[in-house]
Symmetry: none
Subunit: 188 residues, 4 copies
DNA sequence: CATGAATGAGCTTTCATTCAT
DNA sequence: TATGAATGAAAGCTCATTCAT
């Protein structure tokens, strides 16, 4: 019988990679990286332990894969004509829909685990934030827009962490409103 | 040799417990809970591995011990006559001098799902914060003091995490000033 | 496309087998049997892993194939009119040009206890040597030619192993000369 | 209760180390390094897998331990007043009583396993042999004693390997006699 | 005949915990 | 009370082998 075509193989590969990164993200954010075993990732992905090593050289590479997935997804926002409102919308969208990933990244950035890719990513994001917010805040009249950008970052990071940790009690909607107000954004 | 008195034994016990929790706190905040072995704690404490199990039933109990240490230490602040200024001073003191512990607790609250004591502690702290700040903020004229208390918590948590993660870039002093100003506190 | 003829298929088969045994021999002697993976053999042979199992039932069978290749190659020498000089020439030719195979075989005969075919082959070779050398040595006047045959084998095995292990220091040419002299062979 | 004394601990340690190196030597020479698992070593030593790692950092370190054991054992021979007879006696003693270790070392020196300690040891032994034999052979009248030393080494290595491989057929006693005769040693 | 994704047993190693002294 | 040797479950990873196409 003829072997599978390249397209077939590629489709299988992509499907498997999807399953791996998907399960890994779930588990890493649920239980942390250290508390998640490769066996568990495999189990949740519905594949064998060994297969993971067909795609990633190590558990750490799986993590990198997960992060890369997000990295390649983000550049859309940094565009012309973006406003502070867009940026905040974007942030709250993430909080509301990708909280798992956010949790995982926060968890990593606190774990001092000698993972260059994580530190890099976190630094990159922090700097990116400042560089994105500063001109937008200047545009709407802040006198020291860079300091205000750090203030905004502080608020957003605080929002993220409290959303994760005190999910039930935290009045996310009210905070959101207060933050939007600070920047004169009127959400009906 | 004359047998030691009960007091002497008790003093030895307390000393040993001190050494264990002290080393554990250091290591947990340096390397994380999972990355710290019981052997390392013992080594840094200058005692044997076995002795730890004379005082704690498990590594997790050691962690509880560390947390309890902080728990029992905090109630001093919640006193009569305390002002919002005192509370913020207290918080920034912690950020500046106990960042290791803060980091450890944040790390735990993100990482570990199966550690009731940690979640409890984190919740307790969050609630305590709200309950402490609310009346203080009311006193200085905030209309919706509870919402403002959450806003303040958001700011403080954000400050903590950015201090930990972006230590070199984060303009802590400027943030501090902005926060104090918000609450009309004039630090010369 | 016209279906290939049986001869064509057979030629393809032979070609594939060749590539497999060739790569396997190379790798086994470079890195040892245990340190060589089936994947590597396939890669060096330029075929897929699975195809190897079309020709051999297991990695061990591949090894057998390699050995068989040598087995079937040797009988030429044991001919009429052969002299001790021919036999030694043959041996040193092997040392000088097939050291990889020699090394592999030695390695196996020392390493592996559960590979009947290897032990068999080694025994066979040893016995073959004795049976080949004995009459030749008798012809040139040795009183106890069988003992001398063992002595010669000892010398040759020692030469082989030292050539492999102390390649840089071992004075192979001098040893060769001494051995030829012992049997009154005058190589100008 | 008082903890065990230092002497008691040391005795336990020595006993365990003995058991580990003993089992390891046995298994490595029976089945080769790669074919022996740490679990097997532990089982034969009558201890747990984990305990081995209390004494050695890795399986490779266990091997080093085994080799070191022999290394430290050998220097006795290289003494004043030693004769070629003593040296040969020593060698055959080894062949007759330590064949397991010899087999293991030969196996390693053939396995190209990137084990510096093994290669070092083998080289050391080879050179040591030449340097030991050369003056002894000069003393008994050999014209080119260094070349003869290599010839002798060749004979001894050949003897070793044939003893290992063709144990049942190899006429060790006869070879021994022939070798002694070559050096004018008269063993009644 | 040929492919390579997928499996799972087995390997080395780590480490919280136990226990005889 | 104090010690550290000893245990064993579980982790990350490798690789010979299978199988749908």
């Amino acid at each position: 019988m003829a072997p599978r075509s390249d397209e077939q193989f590629e489709a299988m590969r992509q499907n498997t990679i999807q399953r791996i990164t998907h399960s890994a993200l779930q588990l890493f954010s649920e239980k942390g990286y250290k508390n998640t075993s490769v066996a568990e990732i495999a189990k949740r992905a519905g594949i064998s332990k060994g297969l993971i090593y067909n795609y990633y050289d190590s558990k750490e590479e799986v993590l990198k894969g997960v992060i890369e997935g997000f990295r390649s997804m983000k550049d859309e926002i940094v565009q012309e004509g973006v406003t502070i409102e867009n940026a905040l919308d974007q942030f709250f969208m993430m909080i509301e829909h990708q909280i798992g990933f956010v949790k995982m990244m926060m968890s990593f950035s606190l774990d001092v685990n000698e993972m260059p890719i994580v530190e890099e990513f976190v630094h990159e994001k922090a700097e990116e934030g400042i560089q994105l917010y500063t001109p937008l805040l200047e545009k709407i009249g802040f006198e020291d827009p860079e300091t205000e950008a750090w203030f905004l970052s502080t608020l957003l990071q605080g929002t993220a962490i409290l959303t994760i940790v005190s999910h039930e009690d935290y009045p996310l909607e009210k905070m959101k409103k207060k933050i939007y107000q600070r920047y004169k954004i009127n959400k009906a």
